[in-house]
């Protein structure tokens, strides 16, 4: 290359050219945080399998782990969308309980034990969830109240209303068609139906997020709300829809929980919102918006679930589980920070490269 041409290629162009050479598709795959977290999950599974092959690494055990993670997965899909828009939804646990309560009350009033009643219950539960979500969305987008505050408020209101509606007493009459099929039923004898439902939600959620205009607008609003507004994206309407989806999925989770526990469990779900948020963040979705994947959220869900399951089976004191999950969460956010700041400086988004270049300085 002649000296003249060399001179014309300034530092930025050179960097881009050399960066491009390194960017084979496989490399890009490995750099994705969701994939790196997935490797972590596989390592955890491998370690527990080695320690307790007869008990941990059995299909019956893993089946139950997947079954117990299913409700969280449904919630996780909604939360991923919300966090990508740089928002947050603390109310999902309460909305879950409230929709379950309204649904159970309706089904009890209808009296039947068949699918007719059950379907009404399902529609009511999801519908109530959508209403709460829309309520959240309107306050957030139109009244400009921060999502943290709005959803904190609806967390309290939904739970309080649930207690008022029931007088504090759980409703324990759930149509047996629900508990038998969704709650504990299996297809092909081994796959829990509740997990199949969750898988369908996850797949649809992923397809919409990564392939459609709706998903693109979600990323756009999270990346720069101002930019989106300027080009004519109806940001307010989009945010309302996002929160409505989160609420609707909480409503779906409500009927799933009713089916699984056979009771409205008003005292339950105390930790659910934080567990779901942790899962989304561990999976690589940025709390600051603009970036995230459904696959990452699912992996992020399984890490605490597998850790708890493995610790219990190997007899580790339960409080260590909290410590482990907390550590993984902080690590995930730290990695995200490092990648974001090195990306902003125009460098590589590989975590390891960021560490190495820091040392060189």
């Amino acid at each position: 290359m002649s000296a003249v041409k060399q001179a014309e290629m300034g530092p930025e162009t050179t960097a881009i050219e050399t960066a491009k050479d390194r960017e084979t598709p496989i490399r890009k795959l490995f750099k994705a945080q969701a994939f790196q977290i997935f490797i972590v999950l596989l390592v955890v599974i491998a370690i527990f399998s080695a320690i307790a092959p007869d008990t941990f690494a059995q299909l019956s055990n893993l089946r139950l782990v997947v079954q117990n993670a299913s409700i969280l997965a449904v919630l996780g899909v909604g939360m991923t969308y919300v966090i990508i828009t740089s928002g947050i939804d603390l109310s999902i646990g309460s909305v879950l309980v409230f929709s379950g309560v309204v649904s159970a009350t309706t089904m009890r009033a209808m009296g039947g034990d068949d699918w007719g009643t059950a379907i009404v219950g399902i529609i009511v539960s999801i519908g109530v969830g959508i209403l709460w979500g829309t309520f959240n969305g309107i306050l957030i987008s139109k009244a400009k109240v921060p999502p943290l505050i709005v959803t904190l408020g609806s967390l309290g209101m939904a739970l309080g209303l649930a207690q008022i509606l029931t007088g504090g007493v759980d409703i324990r009459e759930v149509p047996s068609v629900l508990t038998d099929s969704i709650g504990y039923g299996n297809i092909f004898g081994a796959v829990p139906i509740i997990s199949v439902i969750a898988l369908v939600v996850v797949i649809i959620g992923a397809l919409v997020l990564h392939k459609t205009k709706f998903g693109l607008y979600t990323y756009a609003v999270g990346s720069s709300e101002e930019a989106a507004r300027r080009v004519g994206v109806k940001v307010d309407r989009h945010l309302i829809r996002i929160y409505a989806i989160s609420g609707g999925l909480a409503g779906l989770a409500g009927i799933l929980s009713l089916s699984q526990f056979g009771t409205t469990a008003i005292a339950g779900q105390s930790q659910t919102n934080l567990n779901v948020i942790a899962a989304v963040v561990i999976g690589g979705t940025s709390l600051f918006g603009g970036y995230g994947t459904i696959f990452g959220t699912v992996v992020g869900l399984f890490i605490p679930a597998v850790l708890q399951n493995g610790f219990v089976i190997t007899g580790v004191q339960p409080f260590w589980q909290q410590v482990a999950v907390g550590a993984v969460l902080i690590l995930a956010v730290y990695v995200d920070q490092v990648r974001r700041s090195s990306a902003a400086r125009g460098g590589s988004t590989s975590f390891w490269r960021a560490l190495v270049s820091r040392k060189k300085k």
Binding site: V169, F261, T263, P318
Partner: protein, 331 residues
């Protein structure tokens, strides 16, 4: 691009799952990390209602000592909160660890039925300790205190302190917990039998002392002439005493608490709480182990055992009733 990652991820997960299923049946057992190696002894798993509660810790101590005598090993797990959505994954994991018997305090009379029934179906002997479920037919035995009697005894203690009568309040945990419901029922039935006393009803503190304190201060604001409060469990008692202290009513209100943890004994000695109805969690634990082993050996089991209680007051707390106080650590 993003889609490719997901596909590769799913393939990798499927591959690793396949590897595990095919390759993981043999291999030497690694010997669990719980106390003792006992290859001839039984493996017992104890699932508490909530971790960190002295009532369940005392029960754990009783279980561990009885197990040691019988040559069995014990692992203990408990959810952070008294919450069936947190307890169920624990039960599932414990079942997967294939113990011979489970001693469990279910956190909801309905929600925990199915998972525990599944455990019984898997051949594990299930003993219900403390709380129970709506349909306990799958369990080999149920062991708990005579909660109704305990509630009635609590009322007697209040009656003794205030023979002239007055308003009384119950601070319970959550509806749907068999033990606290029975205690409240026993108390309220006794109140009904004595027309000098007015029943202000039951309030629920969700097993949070801070909530109990708020309930009590609010109740005292509304009815400053309350003479007695019955707190149906450990955290409720702790919080109620705090609430009375905050309202400055230690002299006029008699609190009778259920359970005798160290914090409550302190309150008893200070005078904010006048009497404690102590259960015998260690005995419940010991009986639980005995029933489990009997079931495992094929011997006769007792389907229902009711254990007793001790009324602790300032007078006997350091004397006769010393051993009735709950432990926060074993040994």
């Amino acid at each position: 691009m993003k889609w490719k990652k997901s596909v590769l991820g799913v393939l990798a997960l499927g591959a690793s799952a396949g590897l595990m299923l095919t390759g993981c049946s043999g291999g030497a057992s690694s010997g669990g990390s719980s106390a003792g190696a006992g290859s001839d002894g039984y493996k017992i798993a104890f699932i508490q209602g909530v971790a960190g509660d002295e009532f369940y810790i005392s029960m754990q101590c009783g279980i561990e000592s009885a197990a040691k005598d019988a040559g069995a090993t014990v692992t203990t797990q408990g959810p952070e909160k008294f919450d069936p959505t947190l307890q169920k994954p624990l039960v599932d994991s414990v079942v997967a660890s294939k113990p011979d018997a489970i001693l469990v305090a279910p956190t909801d009379v309905k929600a925990m039925e199915a998972p525990l029934k599944a455990a019984a179906d898997a051949g594990i002997k299930v003993v219900l300790v403390d709380t129970t479920v709506d349909d306990p037919s799958f369990a080999v035995s149920q062991i708990s205190s005579d909660n109704k009697g305990g509630g009635a005894a609590a009322f007697d203690a209040i009656k003794e302190a205030h023979p002239e009568g007055g308003k009384v309040l119950v601070v319970s945990v959550d509806p749907g917990i068999s033990t606290t419901d029975a205690r409240a029922e026993g108390f309220q039935e006794a109140v009904k039998g004595d027309d000098k006393f007015t029943d202000l009803g039951v309030q629920y503190s969700h097993n949070e002392p801070s909530t109990a304190a708020e309930i009590v201060t609010a109740a005292l604001q509304k009815d400053p002439d309350i003479v007695g409060i019955f707190a149906a469990n450990l955290f409720a008692a702790e919080g109620s005493a705090t609430g009375v202290k905050q309202a400055g009513k230690e002299d006029s209100v008699t609190i009778v608490g259920f359970d005798a943890g160290p914090a409550q004994v302190k309150q008893l000695k200070e005078g904010t709480v006048q009497a404690l109805v102590a259960q015998e969690p260690a005995t419940i634990g010991k009986d639980g182990v005995a029933q489990a082993i009997a079931a495992l050996n094929g011997d006769k089991v007792e389907a229902k055992i009711e254990t007793g209680f001790t009324i602790i007051t300032k007078d006997n707390v350091d004397g006769d009733a010393k051993d009735a106080v709950y432990q926060s650590k074993c040994g």
